[in-house]
């Protein structure tokens, strides 16, 4: 039985670059709405230019106008913001060429509907949302570790490249928020893959997340898990607590 949500709080948000690169080169971006009504993470593609900027525009767009029904009109506003942020006239030839071919990012977003005591999630690509409470746990859109691979669908700044997006947007509506606390985690793929593997092996990965009390603790945990096989990639976790 779902209860109206009283509060959604951000527990923490930690992000770290791929080992061997600088914090400024991390292409993961996240945002949480001030009122806790929405949150998103995006993973910008290394194999494109300005993916960090595109990921940043997308997460901001998501929390400003939260919806799981992402369509070309919703995206066009983000694309226009992205284009206005760039000085195409001063780019060197190769950067111009690369930028015109598009910037790319995944998107995973959650929208909390306080009045109904539920939340909706949307996923494009391999960033993930997981949730856990006293009666339920779940992960979306990918669930099994083998579903994570080197290739995934990404949201592009080139509208023609998003034509088949409807086939790749995954939506799950009305996930109940029962009485008590529900923890919701938004993750980019390296951490999502680890989480799915832990679940598949019968462990409770959310306990490790909830023990992370600082960015430094997250980075220590990441270093340990990378040594144990967590993929060396940019890594981001955003944790929310919805209390009904």
């Amino acid at each position: 039985m779902s209860e109206p949500v009283s509060i959604v709080r951000q527990e923490f948000a930690y992000s770290a670059p791929k080992q061997g690169t600088s914090r400024g080169q991390c292409e993961d971006q996240w945002a949480v709405a001030v009122d806790g009504s929405a949150a998103a993470v995006c993973d910008g593609a290394s194999d494109a230019a300005y993916s960090r900027l595109w990921a940043s525009v997308l997460v901001q767009r998501f929390v400003e106008e939260p919806t799981v029904d992402i369509d070309s009109q919703w995206l066009q506003v983000a694309v226009s913001r992205f284009e206005r942020s760039l000085d195409y006239l001063s780019m060197p030839w190769h950067l111009l060429e690369r930028t015109l071919r598009g910037s790319y990012a995944t998107l995973a977003g959650a929208v909390f509907r306080n009045e109904s005591g539920v939340f909706d999630v949307v996923g494009i690509g391999d960033s993930s949302i997981a949730w856990v409470n006293m009666t339920d746990k779940g992960m979306f859109p990918l669930q099994a570790p083998e579903e994570f691979s080197d290739r995934t669908y990404l949201v592009s700044t080139v509208c023609e490249c998003n034509r088949s997006m409807a086939d790749f947007v995954c939506i799950k509506r009305c996930i109940p928020l029962p009485k008590g606390d529900t923890y919701v985690f938004l993750m980019t793929d390296a951490v999502g893959h680890w989480y799915a593997r832990e679940i598949a092996e019968g462990r409770q990965p959310w306990r490790a997340f909830l023990s992370l009390k600082s960015q430094a603790a997250f980075e220590d945990w990441l270093a340990d898990e990378r040594a144990n096989g967590l993929r060396n990639d940019d890594a981001t976790i955003v944790a929310l607590r919805a209390t009904a």
């Binding site: 080169q25 194999d47 226009s80 195409y88 030839w93 950067l95 060429e97 690369r98 290739r151």
Partner: protein, 278 residues
């Protein structure tokens, strides 16, 4: 698993073009241009493509070491010798050192929902050239030395790719054993890949990624170049299929009389860093 090494600045790969500049390259490719001109256009576009692939907002990244060996009347030579350094040069160095720069027009977003035309500098590294004999064996041996040394120094790298473009038969012996030797060179991630593009000129059947000799023209030179070509690795099969090529498991990196649009697509598979970390 072979051919799974991540291509990154810490772990770049190498691409070496081996280009026929013998006298027969003066023959027409189309009614407008010679094979030599078509080939130099393609190499310039490919070098530009590699630099573009490495371009990020913070500069051109060192994902690839790239070289061009040309062979013809003057023997085998480093066609990018005007760029300082070894035969295989870092992509950022290639970007910095064109032979000359041409102006081209491009349409770019104007920030208000429209587009505006701007002049873009486009670099040229390679000019057409064609004369004399076809010392293919010497050129492939030079390529083998270069990628062999590179592979020894980059054991964890995705293995080098050698892309050989020719229209004819060698005048200095049998290149097949040298091709086999090149394909036995390796890094810890797999064997060196050798692809062959056979430019036959006007008319004729086009073949791309054949899986058996039966799919290749019966001319001895075509059959030999097919046998000299590496099997296309699994990840490249996926890339080629995603680009719309009909390609079967067991296909080899061989093209016969493919037009240059197809050739560019074919070569781009070799340079497409699909396993770059996101």
């Amino acid at each position: 698993m072979a051919y799974s090494a991540e291509i990154s600045r810490r772990n770049p790969t190498a691409i070496l073009f081996v280009i026929d500049q013998s006298g027969s390259m003066n023959d027409n490719w189309s009614s407008e241009i010679t094979k030599a001109q078509a080939l130099s256009d393609a190499i310039n576009r490919l070098l530009a493509e590699i630099v573009t692939k490495c371009s990020k907002e913070d500069g051109v990244r060192h994902y690839f070491d790239v070289g061009v060996i040309a062979y013809g009347d003057a023997g085998s030579r480093d066609a990018l010798a005007f760029i300082p350094g070894p035969l295989l040069k870092a992509a950022p160095t290639i970007e910095q050192t064109p032979l000359r720069v041409d102006d081209r027009k491009r349409l770019v977003p104007d920030g208000a929902g429209g587009v505006v035309e701007r002049t873009v500098k486009f670099p040229i590294w390679f000019d057409p050239c064609a004369s004399g004999s076809t010392p293919m064996c010497s050129a492939l041996a030079m390529a083998g030395d270069a990628v062999g040394n590179w592979a020894e120094q980059h054991r964890s790298a995705f293995p080098p790719t050698v892309i050989h473009v020719t229209d004819g038969e060698p005048t200095d012996g049998d290149p097949e054993p040298i091709a086999q030797m090149i394909q036995q060179l390796n890094t810890d991630d797999g064997d060196v890949l050798l692809f062959n593009l056979h430019i036959a000129g006007l008319g004729g059947q086009k073949v791309l990624f054949p899986a058996s000799e039966a799919e290749v023209p019966s001319a001895p030179a075509a059959q030999k170049l097919f046998r000299m070509s590496s099997k296309v690795p699994g990840y490249m099969l996926e890339c080629a299929q995603s680009q719309g090529h009909s390609i079967k498991p067991g296909a080899r990196g061989y093209g016969y009389n493919a037009d240059f649009v197809e050739t560019i697509a074919f070569l781009s598979i070799g340079t497409q860093a699909t396993n770059l970390g996101r």
